[in-house]
């Protein structure tokens, strides 16, 4: 512990760099994941798409069970076949986006499906078009649950992003793996603790955001 402390004091910029890299990868992944997951979630939550929804959610669940290392390997293969950069930011972000899908997708889907049919009928009966219904009724009512899903995905992503160091994407995985290779306890501690603290901080921040996004009339 003391070693880790001394290391941070000696190389503050180094540690700060790992943290910002880590945050950067996670944030990009979650932003892309949110756009993708929420749109897909809204799409599959429409009436008459139950089968599509089952397939999509099942697929997202399966992806979740694939070990992250295996996924990185697969992606490297796929990307290099496509002539794209097989190491660095791109495969890391793609992997994280895939992992972020289940919580975001599932929460969006459930949030929209669980909206009281009375609300939908009331909106339609007053002459709202499909898009007005979505923007004025469905999304605001679903927002708290969707936000919870994004928060979940964010924590997940911060954890998994540590492995991204293996394919050269940087972040807090760098000191962890360097420490493991060179038996440097202080580096492992710095990486591990930073990931935890980061996850906790972001979780707190997201909780605030979640509350802020909850429409006033729905706050208890």
């Amino acid at each position: 512990m003391l070693g880790a402390y001394q290391y941070v004091m000696r190389h503050p910029m180094m540690v700060a760099g790992w943290i910002t890299d880590h945050l950067y990868i996670s944030l990009i992944a979650v932003v892309i994941g949110t756009i993708l997951g929420v749109t897909t979630g809204i799409f599959i939550a429409e009436k008459g798409r139950k089968q599509t929804a089952d397939v999509v959610l099942y697929f997202a669940e399966i992806m979740m069970t694939v070990p992250s290392l295996a996924l990185f390997g697969l992606l490297m293969l796929l990307l290099s076949c496509m002539g794209l950069s097989a190491i660095g930011l791109l495969p890391a972000v793609i992997t994280l986006v895939i992992y972020s899908q289940l919580p975001i997708l599932r929460n969006t889907y459930i949030a929209i499906r669980q909206i009281d049919q009375t609300m939908i009928d009331a909106g339609k009966g007053m002459g709202m078009s499909e898009s007005q219904l979505l923007l004025r009724i469905k999304l605001p009512l679903a927002l708290p649950v969707i936000m919870a899903g994004i928060r979940n995905a964010m924590i997940l992503t911060i954890g998994i992003a540590a492995i991204a160091a293996l394919i050269g994407a940087g972040g807090l995985g760098v000191p962890i793996f360097r420490g493991l290779r060179n038996a440097r306890m202080d580096l492992i501690v710095i990486g591990g603790i930073s990931v935890s603290i980061l996850a906790l901080l972001i979780d707190g921040l997201m909780a605030l955001l979640e509350r802020w996004f909850t429409p006033k009339g729905l706050r208890s």
Binding site: K124, M128, R136, P140, P215, G217
Partner: protein, 370 residues
Amino acid sequence: MIRLENVTKIYPNGTKAVNNVSFAVPQGGLCVLLGPSGCGKTTAMKMINRLSSITSGKIFIDGIDNTSIDQNDLRRNIGYAIQDIGLFPHMTVGENIETVPTLKGWPRARCKKRAKELLELLRMDPDAFMDKYPCELSGGQRQRVGVARALGGDPPILLMDEPFGAIDPITRVGLQNEFLKIQQDLQKTIIFVTHDIYEAIKLADRIALLKQGRLVQYATPGDLLYRPKNDFVASFVGTDRALKGLQLICTKEIMWRSPPTVKPEEGVKGARELMDREGIDSLPVVDDKGGFLGWVLVSDFKKGQRVKEVMDISPTTIFKNASLSEAISIMLTTGRNILAVIDKYNRLEGVLTFQAIREVLRKSAQKEDN
């Protein structure tokens, strides 16, 4: 004017929810769709604003086939109040009421003004309620906002699906009375769905009684009660239909106008002579401005010399617009067979006797036999 012509709804699984129903509601009329649950009344109503599609038949609104109007335009011009109120919980009271005006593209200020007007119409203080959320309101207040929201875009037609269903009986009666008063001013064409026969009798100009998707009888409340078309109607309105019919009649219609009265300063002797002459055993006591004070009863004459000394001041009054069923109920609870009919300033308008009510019941029973 709304006209249904041979309207039929068959669900994909083959059930006939609405079966060849035809009826028309005139401009400004209030038609109640009545029937046991599952009789198709809600489905019939939802076909008018096309929330439910028609399998065959046509619905005309002011002579225009409703399927030829753009769905959203159609709905924005038909007020819609639903079961369980259905207020949007994430919107304030004001935003809820402004929903249709906003959809219609009214300018901001006009929407706000409209919401305030409607809250006032439903006797809610706009300053206190505009920015409240539905979760902060009582059940009765929510119902009011539900009705206000349906009136939002000033539609000529209102569809109301058990709008007073989710509240306690006392609040419900109060809201029904207010609603009737508002309707007298606004003269909307209204289709109102309920399974409560008392509500139907109280509100309707005409009642459409449905059974398993078929229209059994379309008639005025009086005709439905006293001239039921068949056994189903008779059993649905119940064996106590004579009593239900009393709801239809207003106290002032059968009261004894300008009955003999006495002043508190008069002597008992004069009162006694008056009662003897008229053949009655109680006399209303009024002040100089005609305000009702109490009764002089034959049995109380020995108690004093002046009317005010023997006067009985128990609360045996009824408001002139109250129904005969309320009058009967007051008579039964107070044990009197005569009530003072008053206006809202407590002025005596007449008296209502048990005899007169019995006469009404006898006549309606005769009508039934013919």
